[in-house]
Amino acid sequence: MTRIGRLFENLKRSGGKGLIAYITAGDPTPEHTPALVEALERGGADLIELGVPFSDPIADGPVIQRAGERALRAGTTLRKVLDIAREVRRRSEIPLLLFTYLNPVLRYGLEALAKDAAASGIDGCLLTDASVEEAGEYVRIMRAAGLDTVFLAAPTSSPRRQRLVAQYSSGFVYLVSHTGVTGERETLSDAVGPLVRSMRSITELPLAVGFGISRPEHVAELGQQVEAVVVGSAIMHLIERNLDNPSLEVQLESFARELKHGFEMAKAGAHRP
């Protein structure tokens, strides 16, 4: 079992919920990323999605697009992201999930990546544009190296597709909260409730919800339905606004803490008569 699997077992035992923080590795530079990851962990993040920047991120909104452009300009490559993971691992056991598009991975080579990622302390991988139909070989190779493969389920996924996504996923299943690209949202869409219920009837795997979640109130609302929530664009937006600010790490830590507090708000709310 990977650190991801152990995380969800621990959460289940303690009755807690997981905060998943997405960060584009290499923004503003690859050297910054380990400290930013550590700040998020201090604030209470339970799992880090390390985004590997890609030149043509079709599933991403403007905030993560700009983060990727900065990271690419700073010379970030998949190889460097593995170095970042190794650096994080020197001090931390936080689960790490690579989050990227297929082409950089194909170029690196599936076998080579599985081997190098496992050796760097990566726990799993999520490829936004790898449909389950095209993912057979990738899943086989990653699993053989002891890595989890996480897939997305969307509000548009038919029941047949939801079953396939569950079947190809390990660690957890990532539910997309709304149809659209990544980005912060004011309110949550109501599409996610039916998707959560439907996935529950299909799989025992833990469920995480992401896309659009940016506030403690969102975390509170979703924390009642799923095992974990993912926050990405709001974190990258905070980084973007503080690229040269020496207090960036402190701010990230307190933002993670506020988000994590959302789960407590939910519990308190649930106990209110």
């Binding site: 890609f54 030149s55 043509d56 991120p57 079709i58 599933a59 909104g61 697009q65 690419l72 490559t77 998949l78 190889r79 598009y101 297929l102 082409n103 950089p104 991975v105 194909l106 170029r107 690196y108 936004t128 544009d129 790898a130 449909s131 139909e133 095209e134 897939f151 997305l152 389920a153 969307a154 509000p155 548009t156 996924s157 038919s158 597709r161 996504v165 997309v176 149809t179 659209g180 690209v181």
Partner: protein
């Protein structure tokens, strides 16, 4: 050869479906709608009627007498797609897809465009069917194809400037895909080339294969035989696959796809995917891709906006690997010179894209006495007049 693509949209190991999960069910829905339409005689009757009375099919196959004499070799015929309504082959696919969109009950249509010809053709069919139309176009392409930007607006479409990346076709496609991901329920993405995820490469080919079917019958009428070679420019690959398709079983007919050689063979200065690229995945499909050693997509350059794109349509990748078609490249300068030559020998000003195919045919003609060439003249050159003026200053005093 086994029929391509397979049920998953694969041409050999190319093509397929590489998109975020949100788009998978919409692609399945589109595939169902397309397959049903394909079996429906009423669909074909309506499409044929539109192609005939609205778009102007069949287009002539014209014997280019003075061009042939000037080059002194192969007898050269031009398939006159430039004479179609809106000025390029793109309208074939747009008429087909707009009928599919209507069958699916979609009220909003989005598209990407490079040279603006696909955008104009999309805006045209949306006006014809009373649908909302949004076209994404890179800022660089808006600058160099200004005339088409205004045509789209006059036709009632909204043109959205894309300022990401190289500000060309690739970035316009990414932006259109983001719109589609967001508005899938109401929107049909009218993709303009033989690119993207299944069923697009198949569907776009099916709507364009009429070019090859007509040309094959026309050349037999004119020459009592099949041609020795068929030439077409290859951006995403729609005009090329459309004219090649009917000839694929005719093993004696050479199929020659012409990519943009741009300024030089250095990565970033051309769009020659076969000589300069390697298999990769971009915007929904696996095919030959211009990329760096880290799997980041390279910038491309061509004087012609319609050929300026990093990935080639997946069926071409398969035709390349099986050896059934041959792919070469023609540089900016050669294409410009071919456009001028065709203008002055035949009184036909071609689109810069099509001029690449003319240039390759011209370069082979003198060594091919007794042979018959067919060149797909995919579009007319009005949209390129500003670029011709810049490059032929001596004519503009």
């Amino acid at each position: 050869m086994t029929p391509q693509p397979d049920a998953g949209g694969h041409f050999g190991s190319y093509g397929g479906r590489y998109v975020p999960e949100v788009l998978m069910s919409p692609l399945e829905e589109l595939e169902r709608a397309f397959c049903e339409a394909r079996e429906d005689p009423a669909f074909h009757a309506e499409l044929d009627e539109l192609l005939h009375t609205y778009a102007g099919r069949p287009t002539p196959l014209y014997f280019a007498r003075r061009l042939t004499q000037t080059l002194g070799g192969a007898r050269i015929y031009l398939k006159r797609e430039d004479l179609l309504h809106t000025g390029a082959h793109k309208i074939n696919n747009c008429l087909g897809q707009v009928l599919i969109a209507r069958r699916m009950g979609k009220k909003r249509v989005i598209a990407e465009t490079g040279a603006g010809q696909h955008g104009v053709a999309t805006a045209t069919v949306c006006a014809l069917f009373g649908l909302e139309c949004v076209v994404y176009m890179g800022e660089e392409d808006m600058r160099r194809q200004r005339l088409n930007v205004f045509r789209m607006r006059l036709l009632g479409a909204k043109v959205v400037a894309v300022s990401n990346g190289s500000r060309t076709l690739k970035d316009a496609i990414s932006e259109a895909m983001r719109d589609w991901v967001t508005n899938v329920a109401t929107t049909h993405y009218l993709l303009g080339s033989a690119l993207g995820s299944h069923p697009y490469p198949l569907m776009v080919r099916e709507f364009h294969k009429v070019m090859g079917e007509e040309a094959r019958a026309q050349i037999q009428q004119a020459e009592q035989r099949l041609p020795d070679a068929v030439f077409a420019c290859v951006g995403g690959g729609s005009n090329a696959i459309g004219i090649f398709h009917a000839f694929i079983p005719d093993r004696s007919v050479g199929l020659i796809g012409v990519e943009a050689g741009g300024r030089s063979a250095r990565l970033g200065e051309h769009a020659a995917r076969f000589s300069g690229g390697s298999p990769g995945v971009l915007q929904g499909a696996r095919s030959y891709l211009l990329q760096d050693e880290n799997g980041q997509v390279s910038l491309t350059h061509s004087v012609s906006a319609g050929l300026d794109y990093a990935l080639v349509g997946p069926e071409h990748a398969w035709l390349h690997d099986t050896g059934r078609a041959e792919y070469v490249s023609i540089g900016d300068r050669q294409a410009l010179d071919a456009a001028r030559m065709l203008s002055q020998t035949e009184g036909i000003i071609p689109a810069l894209e099509s001029a690449h195919a003319v240039a390759e045919a011209a370069s082979r003609a003198s060594q091919a006495k007794g042979q018959v060439f067919v060149v797909n003249l995919s579009g007319r050159g009005d949209k390129d007049i500003d670029i011709y003026r810049e490059n032929f200053r001596e004519l503009d005093s």
